[in-house]
């Protein structure tokens, strides 16, 4: 009995340490598994309303090599069609809010893809189902992310990764960095490649872009 408690403490400590080491899957198999650099043009109509987002997705080298190889046009076209078809069920990985309320997207009119160096670049225009006015009280926010966090999608590290087209001069853009809950980070790190993070995980790692136009006061 004298010995029983000591080995148990020791065993407990040892197992804890080993468990941390051993049962923590290498990040090589943990999420995310692909990276997309995004560029977004927020398009305004002549009346100062936002009509939609023009998105440009630059896939990482490995995803590009794996899916379209050298970039045979027929393969690119087939892949683009497949991606857009599959993304329809996921809202094109794009979430738009206006004053805190979700704004629906209409079906993107056209998607095109080409090789940008050795990486695949896909562009499409996602129109808002109803144009909205990004006022100070009710700003327009959007986030482009993979809800399962299989893919990490971040704005390209350039000043003009978000551009406003046809916007009134008072409009301002703000990009908010993600602050994931440590629990979400652990979840992502311990997920295997074949497992899904569930639909709440990706939002934790998503950048949020906020657009306000102080001069637009219409509701």
């Amino acid at each position: 009995m004298r010995c029983l408690s000591r080995p148990l403490i020791r065993l407990g400590g040892t197992l804890l340490a080993l468990g941390l080491l051993a049962w923590w899957p290498g990040t090589g198999e943990a999420h995310p598994h692909a990276w997309i650099d995004i560029d977004v043009v927020v398009r305004f109509g002549p009346d100062g309303t936002v009509t939609g987002l023009e998105e440009s997705w630059l896939f990482d080298e490995f995803y590009s090599a794996d899916t379209v190889g050298k970039g045979d046009p027929a393969r690119i076209e087939r892949l683009t069609k497949g991606i857009m078809r599959n993304l329809a069920g996921y809202g094109y990985f794009t979430r738009v809010d206006h004053g805190g309320r979700a704004v629906a997207l209409a079906k993107p009119a056209a998607a095109a893809a080409r090789m940008d160096g050795s990486r695949l670049r896909m562009t499409f225009f996602a129109p808002l189902a109803e144009p909205v006015v990004p006022s100070t009280a009710a700003p327009l926010t959007y986030a482009v992310f993979d809800p399962t966090y299989f893919i990490e999608m971040l704005h390209a590290e350039r000043k003009d990764a978000v551009r406003l087209e046809g916007a009134p001069p008072s409009c301002a853009v703000q990009l908010h960095q993600p602050h994931p809950d440590p629990k979400a980070v652990v979840a992502a790190a311990t997920l295997d490649r074949t497992q899904s993070g569930g639909d709440g995980l990706g939002a934790q790692f998503a950048e949020k872009v906020e657009i306000r136009c102080p001069s637009l006061s219409r509701p």
């Binding site: 009995m1 010995c3 029983l4 000591r6 080995p7 148990l8 403490i9 020791r10 065993l11 400590g13 040892t14 197992l15 804890l16 340490a17 080993l18 080491l21 051993a22 049962w23 923590w24 899957p25 290498g26 990040t27 090589g28 198999e29 943990a30 598994h33 692909a34 990276w35 990482d60 080298e61 490995f62 995803y63 090599a65 794996d66 899916t67 190889g69 393969r75 892949l79 497949g82 991606i83 599959n86 993304l87 069920g89 996921y90 050795s118 993979d146 299989f150 893919i151 990490e152 602050h179 994931p180 440590p182 980070v185 790190a189 295997d192 490649r193 074949t194 497992q195 899904s196 790692f205």
Partner: protein, 322 residues
């Protein structure tokens, strides 16, 4: 043995461990966590970018510097990232903690598993991929089926460990006297127990256990080796595309070496830890039921991991995976 460690030392050790754990927990949950998270995520991204950049540099110049750059970064990728496929370390640690405590075997399993993993990636992506070039996604299909076999073996291995543990516990229950033979161990050849192995020496018990031993070793090797790591698959795909297959092979082998080193460190730590526990309680727990209980739990965990991975692999496919 336990008497020789002064209680003060033990208390100090325990205190230090608690402090370290507490510190890690504090950093992870408080402000510092954000930075660590950002660093880990960007580091993973950087590794992939560096691999791609090195392959392109090699494509452009073909210089020795580029070759060594690629090999170096691949080795580091294997060392830090993979440290085994998701389940590799768990398998090795559980095996060494509960089934066999031979250091040499642990090191051989670490090296063998990592090497086999690299070869699997090469065969599936470069070998089969070439054959199935006309069939898009052919190598991806081969990879996913190889993974499924690996998950199935993982679950089977967990089940095997559990059965062995239950059998051992049954024997321990039914005989009130201390066990003379240790049913848990892979009893191979001369059955030399290294010092600090933490089990009661017993004479070798022949062919049946030797067969069981090989079953365990094969299970560990195959369940690790049949799942190619995603980094290796990616590098091979890009290398093949650039017409640099040989560079892809070299990179994957370097990754395997890195993985082997990381897993070997874990193997040494496991054998060492088991030695401590064994020495500590050799007087009070001659039947080794502690190890048996751990084996039961470890086997159960491996089974659950394997089963859940197997199920997930048949689950919905990500919309951008083709």
């Amino acid at each position: 043995m336990s008497v020789s460690v002064p209680p003060l030392t033990r208390i100090v050790l325990l205190g230090v461990s608690l402090l370290v754990l507490g510190g890690v927990a504090l950093v992870a949950t408080r402000g510092g966590g954000d930075h660590i998270v950002a660093w880990v995520l960007s580091e993973q991204r950087q590794f992939h970018r560096a691999l791609a950049a090195d392959l392109h540099a090699l494509d452009g110049s073909g210089s020795f510097a580029a070759v060594w750059g690629l090999i170096g970064i691949s080795f580091l990728y294997g060392l830090f990232h993979a440290a085994g496929p998701g389940h590799g370390k768990a398998v090795i640690a559980t095996y060494l903690l509960t089934q066999s405590c031979h250091l040499r075997r642990g090191l051989a399993l670490a090296a063998g598993g990592a090497l086999l993993q690299g070869l699997t990636a090469i065969v599936l992506v470069s070998g089969l991929g070439r054959l199935a070039e006309t069939l898009p996604g052919g190598s991806a299909l081969a990879v996913s089926w190889s993974e499924r076999v690996s998950f199935f073996l993982l679950a089977g291995l967990g089940l095997l460990f559990m059965i062995r543990a239950l059998r051992g516990l049954w024997v321990a229950r039914s005989s009130s006297a201390p066990l003379q033979s240790h049913p848990l161990h892979d009893h191979d050849h001369a059955h030399r127990h290294e010092p600090g192995c933490g089990c009661v020496p017993a004479p070798s018990t022949g062919q049946i256990e030797r067969a069981e031993s090989w079953r365990g070793v094969a299970g560990v090797l195959l369940s690790i080796g049949l799942r190619p790591c995603s980094g290796a698959v990616f590098v091979l795909a890009l290398a093949n595309l650039l017409g640099l297959s040989w560079a892809g092979f070299a990179a994957v082998m370097a990754m395997s070496c890195g993985t082997a080193v990381a897993v070997a460190v874990l193997a040494v730590a496991t054998v060492q830890a088991r030695g401590w526990v064994g020495r500590w309680c050799s007087g009070s727990d001659p039947s080794g039921s502690l190890v048996l209980v751990v084996a039961l739990a470890g086997g159960g965990a491996l089974f659950l991991l394997g089963a859940s991975l197997l199920l997930a692999s048949f689950g919905p496919v990500h919309p951008l995976r083709f």
